[in-house]
Every structure is written in C-alpha cells, then in structure tokens.
Symmetry: C2
Subunit: 335 residues, 2 copies
C-alpha cells in the first residue's frame, strides 16, 4: 500500500478530512443535534464490525465494508419499522491504515445512506490494533407502528422478503473464485453483489403504511431482520413470542441460479444459515401477508404454531421433518 497513513494526519486531521462526508454545521461540537418528528419514538441500534471477523481485505473493499456496515444498521431500523434519521461512526484504526481506506469506508457508508437522506452526524476515531467500525443508527417510528419480535401468534403466516442464501453464495465465490463455473457471468455478479452491497428493506415502511391504510388500521405483526440467517430470525421470533413454527422447505426462496452450481440441500442450508441477506421476516395474519407479498417482493414460507418447536417440513416427502435450533446458526465465539 502506498499513500498517506492515518498516523501522518493524526486523529484531528483525519476527522477534519472526513467532515466532507457530514452535513455542514452538524459536526464540530461535543455532540450532534438531531430532530425527532413530533409524536415519534426514537429507535437506536448499535453494530460493531471487526476486520478479519465481519469483513476482510480479500472479500471486501473499504467502500463495500462501509456499505455493509450502514446496511446492517439500516436493516435493524427497518426491522423495527423505523425511518432512519442519522448514524454515528466510531473507528478504531491502526496507525498504518491508509487514509484512502478510511475515505473509501466513508464513501461506502454515504452511498448506502444516500437514498434515505440519512446523514452521518458524528463519530470518534482512535488508535487500535485492528480495524474496528462501530455504528449506531438512529431512527424514528410512531409507537403504534413499531415492529417487535414478541408479537407472533399461532395461526400467523411467516412472510420473508426477497431471497435468502445469495449473500452466502456470493461470499463463497469471493473466497473460492474457481467455484460456480456453471454460473453465467451475470448470475455470478448478482450473487457477489448481494454479499457486497446488501439492500436494507426500508421499503417495508411504505408497504406497511399502505397496508394499515388499505386493510387494517390496527395491524399486529412480529418481525426482525435475517442478518444472522433466516432460521435464526424465525427461532428468535418464536422464542420471544413463546410459539413455534412450521417452515415449508420447498417454499424457501433461494437464488434460482444456485441450482446450476450446488445441490438443493446446500442451497437451502445457505438460505437458512448463511446470514447477511438483510431481508425481513414478518409474522402476521394471512390476509395482511398476502397484501404485503405483492408490495415487498416476498413469499409466505410457513405458519406460526402453538407447539414451541420450529420444524422444517418437506411437502414432497423426500426429507423427514427436521427440528431447527439456534446452535447451527452463526456464533461469533464458536471455536
């Protein structure tokens, strides 16, 4: 690597340089001021990303790392039904980090935030052994429109947005470029893109708005995002709601292109446990779900049950029913 390093600029010099990514007048005091719309509740979420754990130079450019950090946090807000109003960025950086890398990170953050007019409102930088990115995202929601995990009820259907497993497949292609030779260049690029530039499903807010206006003014729904995998999301919702679920194996939407590359078991595995698709998993009455399916490019993949187990069912009868558990999911401290 060539060019200027973080230690050449110092903390203050680097902060000054990064202010070009922040709205004028917001940065420069001990704290930033932000307006919350009257009647709305503040929504707060924090995520840490560590070099070598959540991203690596091999698979992630600085801009992609920034995009993914922003997307992960916006996805948490979407999962609460909240509109983003700003983020803060805490950076731990080794002194020999290239200034261009840090600017790339901010570029990626900004690109992901831009469609939602969400500003970077503050941050902190300090020296550390490895690169650490800590994002806190702030949003707002009308209290009666907030989405919680604990409100699923037996009889609800389970709706997932988008497709699952694409991010995991993209990571595989980045780590092992020799794989997936049967994929078309476009399909290959789409899978890699799904890993590098995931889209937070903030479109859920408008869809829910339309739903409550058209159909059900006092809608009850449960939900969360699928950042740690689709199985994890269903299991977390069921645990919080003290219910169970039956998922239909053949209704789980994975990227169709995968069939040319891996067997169906692997595709379903990536969809259930791959994680980082940043889609939403919503549990709600069937009629409302059918309305949302058309607005959110979603699919109904199962139902909530009183039996507290989460069961993966196979309508074709090829596979026996399987009880899902959190232990198969992604655990950061696993050996």
């Amino acid at each position: 690597m060539t060019g200027m390093r973080v230690r050449d600029l110092g903390e203050q010099g680097l902060l000054k340089r990064l202010q070009s990514f922040c709205p004028v007048g917001v940065v420069g005091d001990d704290a930033a001021l932000l307006k919350v719309t009257a009647g709305h509740t503040l929504v707060v979420t924090t995520d840490m990303l560590i070099d070598g754990v959540h991203f690596s130079e091999r698979t992630t450019s600085a801009a992609d790392a920034g995009w993914r950090a922003a997307a992960a946090n916006l996805s948490d807000l979407a999962a609460m039904g909240a509109r983003p109003i700003g983020i803060t960025v805490g950076l731990g950086l080794p002194g020999d980090t290239a200034v261009a890398w840090v600017e790339g990170l901010y570029q990626g953050l900004s690109e992901c935030l831009q469609p939602y007019q969400t500003p970077i409102v503050g941050g902190d930088i300090c020296r550390s052994e490895g690169i650490t990115v800590s994002i806190t995202a702030l949003g707002e929601v009308l209290p009666e429109q907030a989405i919680y995990r604990h409100q699923a009820q037996p009889g609800d259907v389970i709706l997932v947005t988008g497709i699952h497993g694409a991010s995991r497949a993209g990571l595989e292609l980045l780590l092992h470029p020799e794989q997936g030779q049967a994929l078309s260049p476009t399909d290959r690029q789409l899978l890699i893109r799904a890993h590098q530039r995931p889209q937070p499903r903030l479109d859920v807010i408008a869809a829910l708005q339309a739903l409550t206006t058209d159909l059900a003014p006092q809608m009850r729904l449960a939900g969360m995002d699928s950042s740690d995998g689709l199985a994890d999301a269903v299991l977390q919702i069921c645990r919080a709601s003290r219910v169970g679920a039956v998922l239909e194996r053949n209704l789980i939407p994975f990227p169709p292109s995968l069939t040319a590359w891996v067997d169906e078991t692997t595709a379903i595995d990536w969809a259930l446990y791959g994680g980082e698709d940043f889609e939403l998993v919503l549990c709600l009455p069937r009629l409302a779900a059918q309305f949302l399916v058309t607005h959110l490019n979603g699919a109904i993949i199962g139902t909530i049950t009183a039996n507290p187990q989460v069961i993966l069912n196979d309508l074709s009868g090829l596979y026996p029913p399987e009880v899902l558990s959190l232990s198969k999911g992604f655990q950061h401290y696993s050996p």
Copy 2:
C-alpha cells in the same frame, strides 16, 4: 486470571448475561425504543475507548474503565447542555477476556449512569484482538438552550468548573506509586479518585436553568468540556468562534495539594494539558458568569479577545506571556 472466559459463553450467552444491567423490556429486539420529550432536540455523541490507549490494567479496573467511558460521554452531553436519556455499548472483546471483567465494566457503567437514571438501551458484542469499548450517548435539550462552541464573543469571560490537573496527577500516582510521598493519604486518594471516577458536570443544566430563570431568559454562551485538557478546550472554542483569549496563569484552579508535591509550572502544565478532568469551559458575559461561579463551584480564569491568539498571561510578572497552541495538547497518533 481464572474463571469463565468470553469464548466459553459465546456472544449470545454474554449478551443475555449483561441484560441484567438493562431495563426490562428495552433489550431483545433489533433496536431499542426511547422517548424524546416533546419540543426537545436529540443530542448524540460517540466515544471509543481502547485498551492500552485510554485505559490499562495497570491503572484501571474494569469498573473504573466502565465508569470513565460513561463519564466521558455524559460529559459531552453536559457540554451541550443536554440531559442524558440512554447509552448504547459496543464491545470488541478477545475470546480470552474474563466474563468477570465484562461484568465489572457494565457495573462501572451502571454506577456512573445511576444518579441520572440513564439506562443502557442496547449494544453489540464481537470478537476482536484487543478490548474496544464504543459508547454512544443520547440526550435531549430544548433547542434554544443548547451550548455550542462557536458562540464566544470578545468581552466574554472564561469560566471553568471545578479544578484541573487532578486527573493527570492521579494517573501519575497510579503509574509511579513511589511519587508524591509528601501528600497526605487523603489527598493522594482524592487525586487517584479524580482519575478513576471523574464526575460529569451534568449539574450545569440545573445551574443554567436557574440562570435563565433569574437573570437572562435569552442567554448566549459558548462552551465545551475539558476532556482533552483545559488549553485544548479554550483553543477549540476560540477557533470555532474566530476569537482569541487571555488566560490568567494564577487564576487557573489546580488541586492545592499539588504544591506539596510538584512545582507550580508542572501543576499548571497538568491543569492546561493533562486532560480527562471532564470539567466544563464556558464563555459568557461577566454578570452571568459570576452567577454561575457560585452555582457550579467554578472560577473565572480569563477573557475572550478579538485578537485570535490564546495567550497565557502572568499577573505576577514572573513568566513572560505565552501563546498556547493545539500542538502541545494530547494527540492520539503522535509518535
């Protein structure tokens, strides 16, 4: 070190254990909900603390590290005139970190937050090479009562709360216990305490409330906290306000006990450049300042000037006037 390690519990297990420090019902979704009082503006500040840079096992217990992390963030809110409403905690932890250390950190955070009824509303934990603590503090302020750096005007006086240099002196005693033999055990303990358990000056909010009620409904004042040193605070305010200042050397309040240990030059040096006293530096008309001095245990140490330099003056004539600059202050990336 003995006992359970972070890797034994895993990320989810550790988060569950730390939920006892969070208010019931706040944690458990993708994001936390927080109420902002009607008419108030949200205030946001982020600080990162790195093991070996901002604290070390030699001088800082886990509880003290937690206290200082909370105090630093509450101090930033105080500097904006804002009342705290919640904090989030992002933790990067090596797998061999003792669980007791993490619980100690949360204990210290809670102890510092408790007098202000400020909850820990969320967080994230992940594996990293060194210990990293990233705090985002949220507060609220009536927009017209926010304190900014850029509003100092020539003729204002400079008021500092409390005393400066105590934290730096306490650090010296922790690093070199053989020093300061002439100090009484009580004085020694007070200085160490100033370093380990600094008090954020959130009492400024009530004092300013009293001031605006009694004296000046439309008060203009500039201010920030002295976390990076008293000199840094004055220089930052002057730069933001495009003014200068004259500070009177013999009016700078340092701990009286220091005279039994170091010479006056060192004491003033620690007061100006030591940092981490987490006091406030306020610039405002003299009459209002005199009112605040009695309410905030403060001292008037100088005046704001149109001449953009910041000059350290000596009324006694022993020292020639000295021009202060940011370069002598604490720079995290300095060699």
